[in-house]
């Protein structure tokens, strides 16, 4: 893996037609400007992971009722005084 240091305003090239420029750096946040051909998909990587999580959500392996058993009354604790004290 290639690791480079760039300052705000500097850029780098990937191949012949993709340019990534650092617009600004503010604390932990970096703003990037990406110029690429329209047929190059650009996705925030967490979006890909979120999409996979959603696809898993759509295919449950157990019944939702079993979830209630797992959670053991956590979901309705708002209605009650909470868990009994431990002895």
């Amino acid at each position: 893996m290639l690791i480079l240091q760039r300052k705000a305003g500097e850029s780098l090239l990937i191949g012949e037609d993709i340019t990534i420029r650092v617009v600004s750096v503010d604390g932990t946040r970096v703003r990037l400007a990406i110029a690429a051909p329209e047929d190059v998909p650009i996705l925030r990587s967490e979006l890909v992971i979120a999409a996979a999580a959603n696809r898993d959500s759509a295919m449950e392996e157990s019944t939702p009722a079993e979830l209630l058993d797992l959670l053991g009354g956590v979901l309705d604790k708002r209605d009650g005084p909470g868990a009994p004290p431990e002895t």
């Binding site: 999409a51 999580a53 898993d56 759509a58 392996e61 939702p64 979830l67 959670l71 956590v74």
Partner: protein, 150 residues
């Protein structure tokens, strides 16, 4: 109107019940209309997003505040603008679960809640810009930590 659902057989619903996603949930961007249906025994905190157009598509969802009373989702200005609110606290939030076998392996996506405008019922799934929440948080953790001191 009648609708075939994944979990509840055929149900009756009204146009006002529909939750509209201008952009559908991630990976399901073409699914724009859902109903939010509660499961019996979940005290209103265990529900599902049932697609109106695809009977077999439903996401098991939870009220994140019942799992984590301090849950604090903060949306980006652009996301708030799309939903037509000034502040994240004006929105309702639900989180999607992955229900595994064994069920103790199930997870909940606290990082990508569905935000719903309470009046217009326009919704959007977002990715929170925080490291405080995970996309696959083990649900078993919530069931086991109830002995925590109050």
């Amino acid at each position: 109107m009648k609708l075939q659902t994944k979990y509840f057989g055929e149900i009756d619903y009204e146009a006002g019940d529909v939750i509209t996603f201008p952009v559908g949930p991630f990976s399901f961007e073409e699914e724009h209309e859902f109903l939010l249906l509660p499961f019996e025994g979940g005290a209103g905190s265990l529900l599902c997003f049932q697609s109106i157009h695809t009977p077999g598509l439903a996401f098991v969802a939870m009220d994140p505040f019942s799992l984590l009373p301090g849950y604090n989702p903060v949306l980006q200005p652009q996301e708030l603008k799309e939903l037509g609110v000034a502040d994240s606290q004006e929105l309702g939030f639900y989180v999607l679960c992955v229900v595994k076998k064994p069920v103790s392996d199930s997870t909940v996506n606290l990082k990508c809640p569905v935000a719903i405008h309470p009046e217009t019922r326009v919704a959007r799934q977002v990715i929170l810009e925080t490291d405080a929440y995970e996309m696959r948080h083990p649900l078993a953790q919530f069931g086991n930590e109830e002995g925590a001191p109050c």
